[in-house]
């Protein structure tokens, strides 16, 4: 193809290069596109025009530290991210065991949980489960310190697709067969 010799063609070359570059292009990079037959001031003007051309489009031309790049407008990022979802985070063992204790032994205090697990319960663990709206405080036990009593919520049942706690697998189904009775 002959060298672009008018504004329209020059802008087309610029646009095609910026859309396919995969990284920001510096002014020096972009000058290479025109094999030296382009002034920096002209290039800046073309970039401004290109920015205007894309003002109402799905991408926008932005300037970042290392140069210019096209990027998807913010409102599309959420959808595009669905193509490459992050790995699903997992709850720690402490969180899962605390949740299991509350589900099967509710209502329980932190002291109960600590006694069953044999280790102190990190307050952060309770906070995670409360923020998820899976457990809440349903009362206090009338002992010194009046510790809170925790129970699972309706929301917890919904999220695990259960109608009631009695749909949890009963523990005696496998208590004998799978848990060794070693005492």
């Amino acid at each position: 193809m002959k060298e672009p010799d008018n504004i329209t063609e020059m802008k087309q070359v610029l646009e095609a290069a910026l859309l396919t570059a995969g990284q920001p292009l510096s002014l020096d990079d972009m000058l290479k596109l025109f094999a030296g037959r382009m002034e920096r001031t002209t290039l800046r003007m073309l970039l401004d025009e290109l920015k205007q051309d894309w003002a109402e489009k799905t991408l926008e031309l932005v300037q970042v530290a290392t140069g210019y790049r096209f990027q998807a407008r913010q409102q599309f990022s959420e959808f595009i991210t669905r193509l490459n979802p992050e790995r699903q985070p997992k709850y720690s063992r402490a969180v899962m065991e605390t949740l299991a204790i509350i589900a099967y032994r509710q209502p329980v205090t932190r002291g109960d949980i600590e006694q069953i697990r044999g280790v102190a319960v990190n307050p952060n663990v309770m906070r995670q489960l409360q923020e998820r709206d899976w457990i809440d405080v349903v009362g206090q036990r009338e002992v010194p310190g009046r510790p809170s009593l925790y129970a699972t919520t309706k929301h917890f049942l919904d999220d695990l697709n259960l109608r009631s706690l009695s749909e949890l697998p009963p523990m005696d189904d496998f208590a004998q067969s799978e848990i060794p009775l070693d005492n």
Partner: protein
Amino acid sequence: MLLTTSEIKIKGELLSELPQDLYIPPDALEVYLEAFEGPLDLLLYLIRKHNLDILDIPMAELTAQYMVYVEKMKVIKLELAADYLLMSAMLIEIKSRMLLPKPAEIAEEDDPRAELVRRLMEYEAIKLAAQRLDEMPKVGEEIAVAAAYYQHISEIKPPEVSLDELVEAWRNVLKRAKLNSHHKIGKAELSVREHMSQILRRLKADGMVEFSQLFDMASEGLAKLVVNFLAILELAKEGLIRITQQQAFSPIYLQANASE
């Protein structure tokens, strides 16, 4: 690729004469390695460019040359020499068969050269296909794929928990705590515990609740009413609620033990 003498150099010198047969001079070995892809390629070149008749190759001489050549090249590129030698052997075989007295009728496919010609033509087609593939635009060369930037939104997704994982966690708790013999929990007990939580939640919201208000006679089945009652007894036993009655037959009130 079709070569002319101007493209073939030996030790920087242009090769003045192209080979008239399959023999490769040892000092031109590297050149041939680059210029020809093997004996088929060389033979094809000779046929197409120099109208070589494969039967005109002086076979005895070629073979003698090859034996010397193989001796010289024992150290390096022996496998290449072998490829050319094999080709020479094939040509000699063809030639010897052609020299035999012919039966009156000879079918085309019985021509001993047919197989070689088939191979040459197949190789030629592949060679041209390779050139075409080489010329086609490719991603990373002539094809530029759109790759604009987008901001990867970290949707903070809460972890998923399956029922299996929950049960597994509980099983681990039991295993470690060796609670199994004391804490078998069945469906019935889970229902009771669920009602205990519900009653506590209600008492927390309403403060004092009259006993009969905790029972919805109209809509709940008998089993549920019983479970509800068991839950109240269990709450009382665990000291989580207080049950009061001013005098006989007056209303019974429940309140969370903590709500005073």
